[in-house]
Symmetry: C2
Subunit: 195 residues, 2 copies
Amino acid sequence: MGRRNDHTREQLREMVLSAAELLIVREGMAGFSMRKVARAIGYTVGQLYLLFKNQDELFTVLNERTADAIYSALLDETETLNDPAEAIRAAARVYVRFAQRHPNRWQLLFEHRLPAGSEVPKANQMKVQRLFGLVQQRLQCLAPEADADTLRCEAAALWSGVHGVAVLAESNKLNWSGVTDFGALTDRLVDGFLK
Amino acid sequence: MGRRNDHTREQLREMVLSAAELLIVREGMAGFSMRKVARAIGYTVGQLYLLFKNQDELFTVLNERTADAIYSALLDETETLNDPAEAIRAAARVYVRFAQRHPNRWQLLFEHRLPAGSEVPKANQMKVQRLFGLVQQRLQCLAPEADADTLRCEAAALWSGVHGVAVLAESNKLNWSGVTDFGALTDRLVDGFLK
DNA sequence: AGGCTTAAATGAATGGTGTTTATTTAAGCC
DNA sequence: GGCTTAAATAAACACCATTCATTTAAGCCT
């Protein structure tokens, strides 16, 4: 076939993105292929390359969406909370639960590497930093006297820890100790930190 | 060519493993291929499949070695230390530094997934748990009165945190906050924990 | 020494992948 | 109805993991 004009460029991009996301959710990075995406939307592979530069760009856009999804989840569960400590605890739990419930999207976001030389776009870096900002903000409320530098360091240490628990929860590789209740584990880490 | 008998089966396996390790170190998972390994040792691809069941088995053996390497590094830097807190701090620093200095081997160990259905062999799980055991042991010295269950939980929380910092150090994806001194970050996390 | 057995090694094939490009198709306009 | 042009395709390229029939040579037996 040739020109069909069933959909606008934007619609097509959207179709590709949601088909790709579904495929990632179902089969993970290992089972993903451009051909499968094309088949899913009833177009040929070539068309995908008129909509996206390459597979990495497609992944990058998907990751932007995943970061947004985590941010929304984080916001949903914390914005009504006034107590900063409570908010941080809740945020940590949501973060870890997201990794557990959406392991394939989580892996794509944090484990997919761009080819050497090309950098993660600023927009994506921002979306990830935004998650961290949420925590930093709450931590500031908790320790208003701390200077900006030590606060950032403290927040980085805390959230790196939470990220570690998320890795543990999502991957079965780090099966150290028979711990399975990651909610409790998260609480222990956060509480230990908010001395 | 046919039968050459230049090397024993064991020698050949060893040649494959070191060539594969070199390739992983140089090019990472993305640049790895069985064909490149075969070319590097002067044999054909088919021969690799007489020595290893498939690529995943080769990776699994490599990962066993990486886990050993981390364990050795951890032991080297902690066995002479008597103070448990000091030992844990040192262990955490070594762990994070390994991730920074050997990112590709580290990624293969913690990010490579076997195809759905097949499990990580017991031997490999043990090698990873052994790392964790080292920390748990020191933590026990520090809190001898704690019961085994809470100790395990506490150790898991602490080491998950350290693992999180290692992820942060190795990947540039988690560029939250401008923190670059991961040694200091590690100390902050550990010290915060050893309240 | 010459033949036989058998393990070592190959080479080619199968079916997959990402990516590029010449070509075809049809929609909208004159 | 013909022309232009954008949309879409089909086929190609160069890889990849994996398998397997075939070839080669080493070691043994007569």
